[in-house]
């Protein structure tokens, strides 16, 4: 079983947290801090396993993590999971993110935490590995996104419709201007993608991909 999945950056700022066992919010934050403390002081060329922190279940649990550029992906698992398997799973997850966000970077995770969650939900469910085939994961995520889009098409045009109605009615002098700016806001300026997850395609040496 996977007990928790934590993603945080090099400064310990959480980017995604997913606990499969209940902890109160302050406890969650403590766990993040402790985990960050444990993980961040390790060199990049040491092994990726850690005996679990004291807060998250002690020695029964292992922290298995990978460090990509600015982000740490930490999985807290118990003895029923294969260590190398989980390492591969992290790889699969990150590669999936890379596919779904097209060249993923930390900013993607920052601004689209919800989407990252939705992707993760297709990989791990309730602490158990649900799917390891990247193509299958991507396909399901895409389908759901398409569904979401089909639901929102109405709403995309809705502001225009509102604007139209406002103009027709001639009232609400302020409204048109606001509506216009609202429409403008729809096209968000491109978020700079400067922080790239570096060597996204590093493979675990001598591990055949699943």
């Amino acid at each position: 079983m996977i007990k928790a999945i934590l993603i945080f950056n090099n400064h310990g700022k959480p980017r995604l947290i997913r606990f499969y066992q209940y902890f109160a919010e302050d406890m969650q934050q403590q766990i993040i801090r402790e985990t960050f403390h444990l993980v961040s002081k390790r060199d990049d060329n040491v092994c990726n396993f850690l005996e679990g922190g004291s807060l998250i279940g002690g020695s029964d649990y292992k922290l298995i993590y990978r460090h990509y550029a600015t982000l740490y992906f930490v999985f807290c698992v118990d003895s029923s999971e294969s260590e190398l398997g989980i390492l591969d799973l992290i790889q699969v997850f990150v590669e999936t993110l890379d596919k779904c966000f097209e060249n993923v970077c930390e900013l993607d995770l920052i601004f689209h935490m919800d989407k990252v969650h939705y992707i993760l939900q297709e990989v791990v469910m309730g602490g158990m590995v649900l799917e390891t085939n990247m193509n299958e994961i991507v396909a399901q995520v895409e389908l759901q996104n398409r569904m979401e889009k089909s639901e929102s098409t109405v709403w995309v045009f809705f502001p225009f419709f509102c604007l139209f109605v406002c103009l027709l009615q001639g009232g609400l002098s302020a409204a048109p201007a606001r509506a216009v700016s609202a429409v403008k806001n729809m096209n968000l300026p491109e978020i700079p993608r400067n922080i790239n997850i570096g060597d996204i395609n590093i493979k675990v040496p001598s591990l055949s991909p699943f």
Partner: protein, 1232 residues
């Protein structure tokens, strides 16, 4: 109006979305908290709006804030709202938020049951998927119970996407609701062979999780897994299965034998390291489980070790780490094969990766032997010197001590070496394990008598150099060592060479800077030393020295008397006075040494850590009883408690009577020896070592003499312990030489016999300890109880899943299905109405049977009473046209038995539809006992069904007879001992006149075609459900069909509709009514608040079909949910009742009824019957009654009658509920 909508949606455009929030937080780095609090205020505003899009946006932002550590549980209800949106986009947001912040304590979770059920059965697979994912994170026991059946159905969904999710979530359901495991297991097993690899892997996953906790229940699956293992190519699945086998093999060695071959094949063939690693792991598990006698398995071990060596030598740190991990498993059973890789493991100690070093350390712990202990510890000591960072150094320190002290110092051959190691370890700066070293020193000094002389010398040296250790006075710092040093020097002061010097060292002013508890030991042991010094000095001619020593103490002790630490102060002043007194005596030239040393005579033996706990309580000793009577005031205070002790154990006060003591001691020693001889766990000094001790170099050779005690502690260059390593080598060589000589002698004597021993490395047994290691065992109380420590955690959720899965499924284990007919319900009128013209006894029996089933756990007497009532009732309902009933025997039977689903009645062509129309748990179990038990909607051929019916009936009858017998018996019993003090249940008093007929069914609506009467009862199993039983009676000459029952839901009460039905859809009544026939249907309502009565408007639509035409008709009605209908008859014992009343949590209220003209027992029976109370106790004209609401409110009544006035005092934890119930009681009695 339109403008308003427009304005609202424009406003929505200005709401911050998640991205805006994140951006805002990033722009307010300095005052983040403040910014977020304004955002939360905005979110609160947004949540108040009606627009679901706005709400969803707000909830999405809350999810983000939750990640940052903000508690968002206050918005739980809004999250539920968003979850129930019909749009996937919002639903997904809602479920995500719920999965992040809901947990078992979230109270709104109970509101989600129906929503989740609806989503689970949604035609859109992603709605279902999202619901399953969310549910997997916040499933509670209640949700698990209510939804288990729905999820189980999803396990056979057409879409693999849903199937795999449903399979996975079953594990969570099992954890929360273990009863579901057995009914669901066959299908789960089926899924192991699902065509979709994802589903298959999910099933393997779940079963592996289950089996890991309770492997023995899953042994029967081994062949199936074996097949999977040899056929599957999915590495994920393979890894899981192989891991599972690792858990199974210890239970079934034969399985292990079978596994070895395919596993070795995999090891040779696979290129995936993860798979290879798991294979090796499982092979190790197999080898452990097999008896080591198998010869051909050494090859497997070699293969494993060899593969692991490759892993450890790999440049990838991860593989190295895992290799070491697996190595440590082999070590436990096959230490020899690992020990040959000692070089590799020692190499790993130099690794830059701390986890790897720690793993290697773990391995070393198991690898030590008598032979290599010194060498390994020497290496470790080198690492201690090199190690940077206190954590790792501390880890090394504890490991060294662990390694040396394991198994009662099994591997230590030279304790002097060990003491010097400990002394060397004290040089560690900044360690937090001073305490550990100290306790080791104490332990060794106390338990190894032969070492005491040496230990004392070393400790004296430590004390002398105390200034080197006092730099670190923090708690548990290295200065703790001084505690041990002082104690050892004091206790074994007879071994000291220069006690005077040590005494002076212990009384240095600098000691006052040590922690209090150490100072206390210093002071106490200074007194012991003083006694020793005195004895020595008194023997000498120069008597002045003794007086000088006393003076020294008198000069130095005042420093401690002033100590802030109470214990130091107390001890110091006590000893100071003692010394002053001694000095006085000395001045009179009295010999005091003997008496002073008597103060500290006697030997302290180590006590086993758990000894105290294991002292059995002697028979007849009550630990809670007063030993003496509690002190009365008259007793004078001046008799001190000390006196009590003295009286009780006189030998403690005068322990120095040598003769008595010696005898006693000798006797005890003898007894102990006897016991130890019989105790296999007692380490006896082995005869061989005894022998060797005699002809070995002997104590004279102990190199104490070679150590210059005045050498400062920090020896530059070679540490002391190294000398021992050398000496030990020499000693061993000598020994070996001697042995060889002997061997040769022997050989000469008996040629051709002993060939062993002269070639190859010496074996373990050949190394003999340098000195007699007479480890004193720790004392245990005589007849100590055997260890009974239960390490299992009683709270482990997996304990509940220890369920035998091979037993055939029983009817009672069916998963609860949502139903209109919960089994606990009773409806007195139901069979009275529907009963065909069967023979009277049969009718009764079937009813009794039902009665029985319904309230198995309830009081028998009560059911009897009910039966009686029902009989009356039946008599009182004469309007049944008997002939017409005859035409519909099957149908009425169905209703009478609450058994057959309506779909099975031969006259009907109703679609076999939603589960809630069909099945009570009883129903399904009766209908399909042998078939796939988890198929609630199972539609069997009607024939088989009816035949089954018959069978069942016969069985029932049989049962009934038995039950009747029992009942009669009970009845008699009751009569015979019918004493007044026995509480009377439910107003049943057999002697009194019969009760008038009563019915809870009241008219719901009526027109010329149909009459509806209904009864409303709470559902015991679900605190939020109420079941309405409606009897439909066809009053016309036409055939009534397609009846649809619909109710306008209120906020508080909702009709439970099948999955997929809209909130305004009606429910099809599951039968048709031929002319004159009546039948009953039940409908479940979910209710939130039960404290107020309420009314629901509803409509029944139906088609009236006469011979020539058919018309559509409708009938409006009003359902009245009284507060009474939320009460459930619950028996209560008088003591529990009294406790409840005493608790003071209940609010009181009262009611007076005038002009009630009926016998008291009738009155009680009425309250019992109409208002679902039970009588707790009845005394004359006064009775206490109890009932419980479906949500667990307690309602207590005290009913008193005098003349025509009845007063009811009532208490309840919910005042408004109580008020309403009383009001309803009042109405009941005003009606009659």
């Amino acid at each position: 109006m339109a403008l308003k909508i427009v304005k609202g949606s424009i406003d929505r455009m200005f709401d911050k979305n998640l991205q805006d929030l994140v951006r805002g937080i990033r722009n307010h780095k300095e005052d983040e908290a403040k910014y977020i609090s304004t955002c939360i205020d905005e979110i609160k505003q947004e949540l108040k709006q009606d627009n679901i899009a706005v709400k969803a946006n707000a909830v999405c932002k809350l999810t983000y804030l939750q990640m940052l550590g903000y508690d968002v549980s206050w918005a739980a209800f809004n999250i539920v709202e968003v979850m129930s949106s019909s749009k996937f986009t919002y639903k997904r947001i809602g479920y995500l938020a719920a999965s992040q912040c809901f947990h078992e304590g979230t109270d709104v979770i109970m509101l989600t049951t129906n929503q989740i059920r609806k989503d689970l059965s949604s035609p859109n697979q992603y709605d279902t998927g999202v619901a399953l994912t969310g549910l997997s994170c916040f499933v509670t026991p209640d949700l698990a119970r209510d939804l288990a059946n729905d999820i189980m159905t999803l396990m056979s969904h057409t879409k693999p996407y849903i199937r795999k999710k449903a399979v996975l979530i079953m594990y969570k359901v099992f954890l929360k609701y273990p009863e579901s495991l057995r009914p669901a297991f066959p299908r789960l097993k089926e899924k192991l062979e699902d065509p979709d690899p994802g589903v298959q892997s999910a099933a393997v996953n779940v079963i592996c999780e289950l089996a890991r906790r309770n492997p023995k229940n899953y042994l029967s699956l081994a062949p199936l897994f074996f097949k999977l293992m040899t056929s599957s190519t999915n590495n994920w699945v393979l890894i899981k299965i192989i891991k599972l086998f690792g858990a199974l093999t210890p239970l079934e060695p034969r399985l292990g034998k079978k596994l070895i071959e395919p596993l070795t094949n995999l090891i040779h063939s696979t290129s995936a390291m993860s798979l290879l690693y798991e294979c090796v792991n499982t092979v190790i598990a197999v080898l452990i489980s097999l008896s080591s006698g198998m010869p051909n398995h050494s090859a497997s071990i070699q293969l494993c070790v060899q593969k692991l060596r490759i892993l450890i030598e790999d440049s990838d740190q991860n593989l190295k780490y895992l290799g070491l991990l697996a190595m440590s498993k082999i070590l436990k059973t096959h230490p020899k094969s690992v020990q040959s890789h000692k070089d590799l493991i020692l190499q790993c100690l130099d690794d830059k990766d701390e986890s790897i070093r720690l793993r290697a350390l773990d391995l070393l712990y198991g690898m030590v032997s008598k032979k290599n202990l010194m060498e390994i510890v020497k290496k470790l000591m080198l690492h201690v010197d090199k190690a940077e960072g206190t954590t790792y150094r501390d880890e090394l320190l504890t490991k060294i001590i662990d390694i040396c002290s394991q198994n009662n110092y099994q591997y230590i051959t030279n304790f002097e070496w060990y003491i010097s190691i400990l002394v060397e370890l004290t040089r560690l700066e900044g360690t937090r394990h001073g305490h550990l070293i100290a306790s080791q020193m104490l332990d060794v000094a106390i338990r190894v008598k032969a070492i005491r002389g040496f230990a004392v010398a070393q400790m004296a040296m430590l004390l002398d150099n105390a200034h080197l250790l006092t730099g670190n006075t923090q708690r548990n710092g290295i200065c703790e060592v001084l505690y041990a040093a002082a104690w050892i020097c004091g206790e074994f002061s007879e071994h000291l060479e220069d006690p005077m010097h040590t005494l002076e060292a212990m009384l240095r002013p600098k000691v006052a800077t040590l922690p209090g508890h150490i100072q206390a030991v210093y002071v106490q042991n200074a007194a012991k030393l003083f006694a020793t010094v005195l004895r020595k000095q008194e023997g000498a001619p120069d008597s002045q020295a003794a007086q000088e020593t006393s003076q020294l103490l008198i000069d130095r002790l005042p420093l401690f008397v002033q100590s802030a630490n109470l214990e130091v102060q107390e001890r110091a002043s006590c000893i100071l006075q003692l010394v002053k007194y001694i000095q006085k005596l000395q001045q009179k030239d009295v010999e005091v040494a003997e008496e002073v040393s008597a103060l500290f005579a006697g030997e302290l033996n180590p006590v086993a850590p758990k000894a105290q706990k294991k002292v059995p309580v002697p028979e007849g000793l009550d630990l809670d009883a007063w030993i003496n009577d509690p002190p009365s005031e008259s007793e004078s205070e001046d008799e001190k408690p000390k006196a009590v002790f003295a009286k009780e154990e006189p030998k403690h006060t005068r322990p120095r009577h040598p003769e008595v003591d010696e005898k006693e001691l000798a006797r005890r020693r003898e007894a102990r020896k006897q016991e130890q001889a019989n105790n296999p766990f007692y380490i006896k000094s082995s005869p061989s070592s005894q022998k060797v001790y005699q002809d070995a170099p002997g104590v004279e050779h102990i190199p104490v003499v070679q150590i210059d005690l005045s050498v400062p502690l920090k020896v530059p260059g070679m540490p002391m312990s190294d000398q021992y390593v050398k000496l030990e080598e020499e000693r061993r060589q000598k020994e070996r030489a001697e042995k060889k000589k002997k061997e040769k002698k022997k050989k000469r004597e008996k040629r051709g016999r002993g060939k062993k021993g002269d070639s190859g490395p010496e074996s373990e047994e050949d190394i003999t300890p340098a000195h007699q290691v007479d480890i004193v065992t720790e004392e245990m109380p005589e007849n100590a109880l055997p260890s009974d420590d239960d390490d299992k955690d009683p709270n482990d959720p997996h304990k509940a899943l220890d369920i035998d899965l091979d037993k055939p499924l029983m009817d009672s284990e069916k998963l609860p299905v949502r139903t209109h007919r919960p089994e606990v319900l009773k409806s007195p009128a139901e069979d009275g109405d529907g009963e065909p013209a069967q023979a009277e006894p049969k009718k009764r029996s079937s009813k009794e049977k039902k009665e029985k089933k319904k309230d198995k756990d309830k009081d028998r007497k009560k059911s009897k009473e009910e039966k009686k009532k029902k009989k009356h009732k039946r008599d009182a309902e004469p309007e049944e046209p008997v002939e017409e009933q005859m035409e519909e025997p099957v149908q009425s039977e169905a209703s009478a038995e609450v058994a057959a689903p309506p779909t099975s009645t031969p006259t009907e062509e109703v679609e076999p539809t939603p589960p809630e129309t069909t099945s009570t748990p009883e129903t399904t179990s009766a209908a399909a006992p042998e078939s796939e038990p988890e198929e609630p909607k199972d539609t069997e051929p009607e024939e088989t069904k009816s035949s089954k019916h018959k069978k069942k009936k016969q069985k029932k009858e049989k049962e009934d007879k038995e039950k009747k017998k029992k009942k009669r018996h009970h009845h008699h019993h009751h009569h015979s001992d019918g004493a007044g003090d026995e509480s009377v249940q439910n107003g049943t008093v057999e002697e009194e006149e019969p009760l008038p007929p009563m019915s809870n069914y009241c008219l719901l609506a009526e027109n010329s075609y149909i009459k509806m009467v209904c009864d409303i009862q709470g559902n015991l199993q679900d605190g939020s459900q109420v079941v309405v039983s409606v009897i439909f009676e066809n009053k016309s000459d036409c055939f009534l069909k397609s009846m649809e029952f619909n109710v306008l839901d209120s906020l508080n009460s909702k009709l439970q509709r099948p999955e997929g039905a809209g909130p305004h859809d009606g429910l099809t009544v599951p039968f048709q009514l031929p002319p004159g026939v009546s039948n009953e249907a039940r409908f479940v309502f979910s209710v939130q608040s039960i404290v107020m009565p309420q009314k629901l408007k509803g409509t029944l639509t139906f088609i009236v079909k006469s011979e020539d035409s058919s018309t559509h008709e409708k009938l409006d009605f009003k359902l009245h949910f009284t507060c009474t209908s939320y009460l459930i008859t619950t028996p209560c014992y008088s003591d529990a009742y009294a406790k409840l009343l005493e608790s003071g949590d209940l609010k009181a209220s009262s009611l007076k009824l005038e002009g009630v003209n009926m016998p008291f027992h009738h009155l009680l029976a009425r309250i019992c019957f109409h208002h679902h109370f039970s009588v707790v106790e009845r005394i004359d004209s006064c009775a206490s009654m109890y009932s419980r609401s479906i949500q667990g409110h307690h309602v207590c009544l005290l009913v008193k009658t005098s003349g025509e006035t009845v007063s009811i005092d009532a208490k309840c934890d919910e005042p408004s509920l109580l008020g309403n119930v009383l009001e309803e009681i009042k109405q009941t009695f005003s009606r009659c």
